[in-house]
């Protein structure tokens, strides 16, 4: 291969290197170097992040809910499948409104409903009928993260409902923003870092749908094996 040509290695379009520093070389290297320094990063950007970092990296538009939620009987429900970003929306609202309280309903476990204004209920479809009846008929502003659309029940309870289908908000541009924010979050210094193009994001959405969690796992595997100096990540 001639100098100056590019080669596609492990999902990366990168300049030809004399001795690319492979990730696998690190595993048995007697003196390991700094993590992900070969990509100018501090760690794999798509690994698990602490909840605090998660909220800081949320790329969601929740300002529109501010006014709506300031009045009683208001409900905003974020509807979508797992990995679509329901929890991210709820946590972003929690960060915006200090009086709000977030509660997650785990599967098969009885969960008490706390007091908050607004009350943010994640996995709301797991509430018991009694809890639904009680919560929906209280005047407290609600924000629901749910797999099921509760519009009928909420309207019968006399609530004003705003429904956000979260996957409809996903686009290649937004996915690029989310991914680049993650990469920037773990940047090591001012040099270049890997980037994802709009086309690559489009391909990821075609392949995995709006399941961002699944896309992140795919990217985690790719970033584990990116060669040194990789800039343009391809999938």
């Amino acid at each position: 291969m001639r100098p100056g040509m590019t080669q596609k290695v492990n999902g990366c379009q990168s300049p030809v290197q004399d001795s690319p520093l492979w990730r696998s070389d690190f595993i048995n290297c007697p003196s390991p170097s700094l993590p992900f320094a070969h990509l100018n990063l501090r760690r794999n950007p798509f690994g698990e992040l602490p909840l605090s970092d998660w909220a800081a990296l949320a790329d969601v538009d929740v300002q529109e809910c501010d006014g709506f939620l300031s009045k009683p009987w208001a409900t905003v429900q974020f509807v979508g499948e797992k990995g679509n970003g329901k929890t991210t929306h709820l946590l972003a609202i929690r960060d915006r409104i200090p009086e709000s309280v977030y509660v997650h309903f785990p599967e098969g476990e009885k969960t008490e409903i706390p007091v908050g204004n607004p009350l943010l209920i994640d996995e709301a479809q797991r509430m018991t009928r009694w809890q639904q009846w009680k919560v929906f008929r209280s005047g407290i502003p609600l924000v629901l993260g749910t797999h099921r659309d509760f519009t009928g029940e909420l309207k019968r309870a006399g609530r004003r409902v705003k429904t956000v289908v979260v996957y409809e908000r996903m686009s290649a541009s937004r996915l690029v923003r989310i991914i680049q924010a993650r990469i920037e979050w773990v940047r090591r210094d001012a040099g270049p870092v890997p980037e994802l193009s709009h086309e690559t994001a489009d391909r990821l959405l075609t392949r995995f749908g709006p399941d961002v969690r699944r896309i992140f796992y795919e990217l985690y595997g790719i970033f584990q094996n990116l060669p040194e100096g990789c800039i343009d990540v391809e999938v």
């Binding site: 170097s33 700094l34 993590p35 602490p50 476990e109 996995e123 584990q224």
Partner: protein, 502 residues
């Protein structure tokens, strides 16, 4: 908006430090506007990163500066120095990475505190205090204060656990009749294996292991029946297990780092009543993946020994091991790695090496290993007796000298299968032939086990004659004519067919 630039500079450019070494460096803090600080704090700690939730070690804090006024354009430098942790060592894996950090926080009142985190690389150095030299028990590296829960908390914890179990019992009471059935199946399966192989005793040298070290297995059993085996295998398995999320969003992913199976004994047949007792020296794979066990991130090593019996439950034994860096198991007197066995460093690319299995001397009281009877030298020594069956002895000598694991032995046997050989045998045991033979004519006959007269060399002869017609018994001498069927590597003996005229 004011800007606070923090840089952490280590005195070593590669930032590589051995456990117990002093890590030194400077912290530089520069601001572009006057800034009041309530203190500048340096924290050092280790944490994991990767697919799983973050596990972290104890945070050690040190104040570099107390309340101070930082002036625009000024750069303050604070030297730091601390003794590096001894473990866990820096690790780069697939789902798990372990790194050591120095973090500097500038406490700015009523504002987000500027902070910076930098990694340094920790390699093996001083031996952690938890390692006492005993290698028979998994060493717990969890700091005492993190497990030292107050008595009240312990009582509350156990009470809650008790209540939970009681509730679980109530909920799952309908499963009660299923429990004896499951246990019955497990018991029956074990019983089947015991009926076939007898009590199998496996002893391993230690649970705390160093990569690249000899790790001999002692396996001993006396089969109750003649048994075909597909082989005896040992499998080393190492995997990273990382858990992300919590509650129902919890997801654990495993990544296999090593999964290597090695055959200790090839396919063959075990003779009922004949003891199988061997020390099987295996070499533990060279690795940098040392055992690690925290709540969301684990690096686990297991070894499984399996006696693979065709169309029958296998005998298996699985054990968790703890793999440590060799530097942690140094002999305190010599400073050399404490091998407790011959440490053989494998060639690059062949992480596991299997020397010839060593055979215990059957009559020895002490478990003293003797030379492999399969080796050419020992085979030659066995022929020191009267030369009563020269052709057979010549054949055995050739086979014994051939490579045990190649095809050479089979090729020798194949060259001799058409020749009829005279042999004189000291009979030790007579039993009905078990299982299928290559020729149906020998299927319902007898199997005669004995030694070639005047030697210690075992031989197995299958006859066409049934029990009623066969008058041979232990102690008798039998002159017969045989053809060679195969070489039994398990017992280092010829398996032959009796072709003497009726």
């Amino acid at each position: 908006m004011s800007k606070c630039d923090i840089t952490i500079e280590f005195d070593r450019s590669d930032r590589i430090y051995q456990g117990g070494e002093t890590v030194t460096g400077q912290v530089h803090v520069a601001v572009n506007r006057d800034l009041t600080s309530n203190g500048i704090k340096l924290t050092r700690f280790w944490k994991t990163h990767g697919y799983g939730n973050t596990d972290r070690g104890e945070q050690m804090e040190e104040m570099l500066d107390t309340d101070s006024q930082l002036t625009a354009g000024e750069t303050r430098t604070y030297p730091f120095s601390f003794v590096a942790d001894l473990q866990p060592l820096t690790y780069r894996g697939h789902h798990i990475n372990i790194d050591h950090y120095v973090r500097v926080d500038v406490d700015v009142p009523w504002a987000i505190d500027p902070k910076l985190e930098e990694e340094y690389v920790l390699i093996a150095g001083e031996i952690p205090a938890e390692i006492t030299g005993s290698r028979d028990k998994i060493i717990d590296f969890t700091p005492e204060n993190s497990t030292e829960v107050s008595l009240v908390a312990k009582v509350l914890g156990y009470t809650a656990l008790g209540l939970l179990l009681a509730m679980l019992c109530v909920v799952t009471i309908w499963l009660l009749p299923v429990v004896p059935i499951v246990y019955g199946i497990i018991w029956f399966r074990k019983k089947l294996v015991v009926n076939r192989l007898g009590e199998v005793r496996l002893s391993t040298p230690h649970l705390v292991v160093v990569g690249g070290q000899s790790w001999p297995l002692d396996l001993q059993f006396t089969p109750r029946k003649n048994t075909q085996i597909n082989g005896i295998h040992v499998k080393f398995h190492c995997e990273e297990s990382a858990t992300s999320g919590s509650g129902t969003n919890k997801k654990t992913r495993n990544h296999t780092l090593h999964d290597v199976r090695h055959t200790l004994e090839p396919e063959g047949s075990l003779t009922g009543g004949e003891e199988y007792r061997r020390s099987l020296p295996v070499m533990f794979p060279e690795t940098e993946a040392y055992s690690f066990d925290r709540s969301s991130n684990k690096i686990k090593w297991t070894v499984e020994v399996r006696v693979d019996i065709p169309m029958f439950p296998d005998w298996t034994s699985s054990q968790s091991l703890q793999v440590l860096p060799s530097e942690f198991l140094q002999d305190s007197a010599t400073g050399n790695p404490d091998d407790r066995g011959d440490r053989i460093v494998p060639d690059a690319g062949s992480p596991v090496h299997f020397p010839e299995p060593q055979v215990f001397e059957a009559a020895a009281v002490e478990e003293t290993m003797v030379e492999d009877t399969a080796s050419a030298e020992s085979a030659a020594a066995a022929w020191s007796g009267p030369d009563t069956s020269p052709e057979v002895l010549d054949l055995v000598e050739r086979i014994a000298a051939a490579d045990r694991f190649g095809s050479e032995r089979t090729e020798i046997v194949e060259r001799w299968t058409d020749d009829e050989l005279d042999v004189l045998i000291d009979v030790e045991r007579v039993s009905s032939t078990f299982g299928a033979t290559e020729d149906a004519a020998w299927q319902h006959g007898q199997t005669i086990l004995g030694k070639i007269a005047g030697t210690d060399q075992s031989i197995e002869v299958m006859t066409r004659t049934s029990q009623q017609e066969c008058r041979l018994s232990r102690g008798s001498q039998w002159r017969t004519r045989i053809t060679v069927s195969k070489w039994d590597s398990l017992y280092d003996r010829l398996v032959t067919l009796d072709v003497s005229p009726d």
